[in-house]
Amino acid sequence: MVPGMQQVVLNTVQYALFYLVFSIPLTLSYRTTKVMNFAHANFITYGAYTAIFLHGVLGLNTMSIAAVAAFLVAGSMAVLSNLLVFAPLQRRGSSLSIVMIASMGLWIVYKYLLYIVTDIAHHYTAKNFVSYGRITYVDIPRIVVGGAELSQALVAGLAVASITIASLYVILEKTKIGRAMRAVADNPVLAEVSGIPRALVANLTWFICGGIVGVGGVVWTSFSGATTPEAGDSMILQVFTVGFIGGLVSLLRTGIGAVLIATIENMGIALLNTYLNVPVSFKPFLTFTTLIATLILFPPLGAGGGLPYRFLRRGSRR
């Protein structure tokens, strides 16, 4: 037994929840719109910063309000990105890689835009927004398990992940619009021919995906000891790894990927460190070995099978 295993387990759960909330929307948006979106990182950061500005400028420390605001901010951002950049490029017949490169451009634009906003906020409040300490929220219930109180981030993470999964299930499986989203994912041309408003479905998907990630960003502010305008950037590679494990198609396998990567990054490194004295700084090495192994073992796009149509259809039902 590794000493301090309890904390390691808690961290694993916490990270699994984060990766789940960040990567399921990535998979959902990719399979519906075919945009490999690097600005996904900004949705995380902007969500977090919505909470940070509400806290730092207005003194608000209610997570539920911050979460609603962050959903709107990050969701609108995603829709705007689609309207102004992705959709026009796709209409012109740009390849997947061109759209992907444009999303990288957007990533940089959004990042520096946030730096500008933090500078302005800093000017007026004299508070440091470029690195913001953990926020303690007032509306998160205290939950005690086995004598130990769960952290706010864990409680909030569990709540947000369950709500996300439940509502996505209901939307995708039980509603007309969800069926339309799945139809567009399966075969966009056929969907359009059969009367599904493809552009509307795409925008709605972007709004939901951006919004969920933004709410995840709010939870991040109750977890991280210091959030920076690059918080999402340094997580995006892990989030993509999780997405690739799901082949960017299967939501179920994306979920499994989230648990797998969180376990490797937390349990794996703790065990290796304790028994084999592997330095903790090797953590990213493990993550990316897993990524490469997944891609090599299951081409073309990881364990979900990726793009071929038959996989798409099978995957999307999961």
């Binding site: 500078d119 300490g133 920076t228 903790v280």
Partner: protein, 434 residues
Amino acid sequence: MAYSTRAVALAVVALMVGLAAGYGLAAATTGGRATATVTVGGSVATVTVPVTSTAAPAKKVFSIGFTLPLSGELSSIGKIWEKVAQLAIEDLNREVQAYGFNVEFRAVILDDGTSDEKALQNVQSFAQQGIKVVIGPAASSQVKVVKSYADSNKIVIISPSSTAPTLAIPNDFIFRTVGSDAGQARVLATLAYQEGARKVVVFHRNDEYGKAFADFFERYFKEVGGTAIKVPYQTGLPDYASEVAALASKVQSEGADAVVLIAFDTDGANILSHAAETPALSSVRWFISEGPHGAEELLSQAVGQFASKVRLLGTRPLFIANPLYEDLKSRVAQKFNVELSVFCENLYDAVKLAGWAILRAGTYDGEAIRAALVEVAKTYYGPSGWAMFDSAGDKAQQDYGIWAIVPGGPKGYQFKDVGLYERGTVIFLERPYQ
């Protein structure tokens, strides 16, 4: 088609704006501000608009480059430094004008994101602009990266905060207005031992600064009779929860009685706030390097309470009870409404030294300025104390203070200097955490 062409054009424009904003923002805003303030009081009375100084008899303008960590892992203190740099340039201009020099110093401030590559890019772009004196970069790993370029292009680099002993190299173009960590590691080792720690885990950044500090700490802690176990962590992560969990395992399995943290500000605050939630780490003492001092994130309730629980004590280069330091502190508080962080005084002195060295050199040439800098520093005394350089171009006379995080101030907690290092022992001026 026309619509989509327009949209693409729009996307491209957005991209360009983003890039331009990214690279140019810091320089543009700060440079402009500095210019506007420093030209006030030009020697000719008809000059009413400060920026358009066409009527003035050719005032000589010298640019001083700044590569500062306005984003990234040192951003919390970098933001404060930016203000101190502006103040120092204003003071310098007022001073040289009082001496009758018809010159003006201008700050060109660039953000290096606490990244090694960007620091080098900044120094290279300074070189292209013909700038021969650069203040910064902040981190030792950055200084190491810019060193060979600076040496071969004869650009004088004055870092106010790089402390890695490995960079104490004679006859190069690198100067540091702060003593090397060989000194601070001894103080931290003395402090930890004096406070009763015998077996410590040194949790350190896996970079130039962290590794060198940890090595020197281990050496001195062994000398005084303790045992140090080094645990490096990867830098630049979004969060350090799993690193802290691994640290907790190490502390328990080794039966250590203290943790020594060698960190910057963002990572330091992150690590401390996770440690606060880990019982195994709340029952040992914590000692900390100068890196996170002054960072606002450390004044959160979680970290503040943790600090009193583990009686957290840190060391930092400081000349205690220096009236010039107190004066700078109150002026910065008054003008910008911020508290001085670690190395602000060293940055202030670096700017003053650079200005006077340029004037003493008589010519804007790297080699001449380097020689003049050594001479100017011999007789310069500022907020960081006596600035004289040793043979390696580091501050020769460096004192160290002990700091703590105590309740009080507008944020609920505040940094406080509580002691100093004197002839091999740590003397407390007051006892925090009682």
